[in-house]
Symmetry: C2
Subunit: 222 residues, 2 copies
């Protein structure tokens, strides 16, 4: 399956690219606003996987080129670039493309990190508003510590919470998530349930800030 990771040069994009490269045969396209940067990162990921004996074919493109004809497009960009990124690739997306948002909005104050809930109700709702109505949107991969995800020597047992109003698209993304060893996809319902998922990420950072031994944690519901 062709998967485009827009903003795939960033930390969560890197983690997903390396894990899917390691555990699957999917065709991975790294997108960036800067195609040169995308190509360099794609090569870096290939080199890393090659050093572990995994032959891959990861390519870098400008975001719109990466999104073109991808079956799944992951918007692995910061929340403040989410709508820009969608606008830049909108004419490459249709009802056959499943768009995935892992973005969360946070603000920092003296106490810690806080969920910065947009007026639309969630960051995912901002993405839904920016997309054409016929393009399925799924939320997933919000609460994963990017550094540990990208470290192929690290094992984990984490959940990723998956939401969306299109059950087929949600199932597709859940299957992709579970192809990553140690990751379980947990359905939390529709887009209206996004905010409580997005709010877990600042909580993870507050835990790291207040506990020496508890950095780079994911979450497991058990």
């Amino acid at each position: 399956m062709r998967i485009a990771l827009l903003g795939g040069t960033g930390d969560i994009g890197q983690g997903l690219a390396l894990r899917w490269g390691f555990h699957t045969d999917h065709e991975l396209l790294i997108g960036s606003r800067d195609p040169e940067k995308a190509r360099n990162k794609a090569e870096e990921y290939e080199t890393e996987l090659d050093s572990r004996g995994v032959e891959t074919n990861i390519k870098g493109f400008e975001n719109a080129m990466a999104a073109d004809r991808a079956r799944v497009v992951v918007l692995s960009v910061p929340a403040y670039h989410l709508v820009d990124t969608i606008d830049a690739v909108a004419d490459r997306l249709d009802e056959e493309t499943t768009v995935v948002t892992p973005a969360v909005g946070m603000k920092r104050d003296d106490d810690g990190l806080h969920y910065n809930r947009p007026g639309a109700g969630s960051v995912a709702a901002l993405a839904a508003d920016a997309l054409d109505d016929n393009v399925p949107l799924v939320g997933a991969f919000h609460n994963l510590p990017a550094g540990r995800l990208a470290n192929l020597d690290a094992d984990f047992e984490w959940d990723t919470l998956v939401f969306g109003d299109d059950d087929d698209a949600k199932g597709l993304v859940s299957d992709l998530a579970e192809e990553i060893a140690g990751l379980r996809a947990v359905d939390v319902g529709g887009l209206a349930n996004a905010a409580e998922v997005e709010a877990v990420t600042p909580l993870l950072i507050n835990i790291a800030m207040n506990n020496d031994g508890l950095h780079d944690l994911g979450v497991r519901f058990q």
Copy 2:
């Protein structure tokens, strides 16, 4: 240590009473607006613990009597009774009493449960506003599935997220939490970080609503 569980006839109060009764020698006082109901529940908890060979001395009182001279007062009441309950016992609380709030505010719609964030910023902030400034307040025990907590045959490995602006009080409550086998106390900072903790509870319910095998779950950060 004398621990009062106000609203201790309810589900989270029952779970804490049974677990502390089972694992510790603390003096447990069950509070209710109705002292007769409190006495009946206290007797029920004693009977349950006695059937497992644990001798306890759990007493039931009207809430203000239960709070009187307790070292720790747990407000195990629904969020909409939190301020009422504080007002009813306020003259029994002072700087020697640590008050604990596990309350969360939720609303339900067709999609699921949602965090109903009060204008004060969090349910805990409502409690802080209602308490005299010299009474230490700690948030803890929010995200525990009450039924499994109260079932002494059930094992678990859960985290409880603990927050508050008084470090001594927070340490005291963390120690009490960890006296329950399988429960780890995780510091998330001050009262200003309460909302992200309280928002995890509707998320747990949304998970249960959307996944057959995932009821009565707690959360573990790992």
